[in-house]
């Protein structure tokens, strides 16, 4: 990651708010990628949930259906 101290100018709130949207979406995409890599590396849903600091059910709900549809089923560990 680059220098986060490089903040948008206070007189351009549109720029700052667009950055927030882009960051949220980037974080969600990174989460999906990281979960796929973790599952491929043999991690359990509980381990993934612990690492993300969310419940196991929450981790499963966010990612299991997406992974099944992408042809990446895994046993319910």
């Amino acid at each position: 990651m680059d220098d986060l101290s490089q903040l948008p100018s206070p007189d351009s709130p549109a720029e700052a708010l667009a950055a927030v949207v882009a960051l949220r979406r980037l974080a969600d995409r990174l989460e999906a990628e990281a979960v796929d890599h973790a599952i491929a590396g043999g991690w359990s849903w509980q381990q993934i949930a612990d690492a993300l600091d969310i419940t196991r059910q929450g981790a499963h709900k966010r990612h299991a259906a997406r992974r099944r549809a992408a042809g990446r089923p895994e046993e319910d560990r």
Binding site: L26, R66, A70
Partner: protein, 168 residues
């Protein structure tokens, strides 16, 4: 008055559009469907009236996708972050959700303009161009910024969309 079959056809087309838009939202890392996801779904319809309306003003589907990517890259750049190269997501692989549609306020505003627009034949084929007509009125957000980046004349885009609606 529209026949019951055309109403059913339009409802099926709307449902398919919104499910496809949700897949675009998921691929984009968004919890809710935003205006740009509805536009992307409309542009995905093969031989559809949305892509045809864009073509009338010299814009290709890929141009719009690239402009959206440029919007997000510029937004990240403003806080000193270079967007990483993530593998592309195949939206056809994304499951459709059960239950009601989850739209952002911006997505809902665009969609309400689509279903509230008058003067179309009710043909399901017109739906994509109706999305483009609603897009031409967007003034803020990623979809509006993408149009600005492409230098699209909003009035010309609206005229193009109306022509495709009339032809559908």
């Amino acid at each position: 008055m529209r026949g019951i079959f055309s109403i059913a056809g339009r409802m099926r087309a709307v449902n398919a559009l919104l499910l496809a838009a949700e897949a675009h939202a998921t691929a984009d890392g968004a919890d809710e469907t935003a205006a740009e996801h509805i536009v992307l779904a409309a542009l995905d319809i093969p031989g559809g009236s949305a892509a045809a309306a864009f073509a009338r003003v010299g814009i290709g589907t890929e141009d719009f996708r690239s402009a959206l990517a440029a919007h997000h890259a510029a937004a990240l750049s403003a806080v000193g972050i270079t967007a990483p190269d993530l593998p592309p997501v195949d939206v056809s692989e994304i499951p459709t959700r059960q239950g009601r549609y989850r739209m952002s306020p911006g997505g809902r505003r665009l969609f309400e303009r689509v279903v509230g627009s008058r003067g179309d034949s009710g043909s399901p084929a017109a739906l994509g161009a109706m999305v483009v007509l609603a897009l031409a009125d967007e003034r803020s957000g990623a979809a509006a910024d993408a149009l600005d980046r492409l230098g699209v004349d909003r009035e010309a885009l609206a005229v193009a969309a109306r022509a495709e609606i009339a032809a559908a």
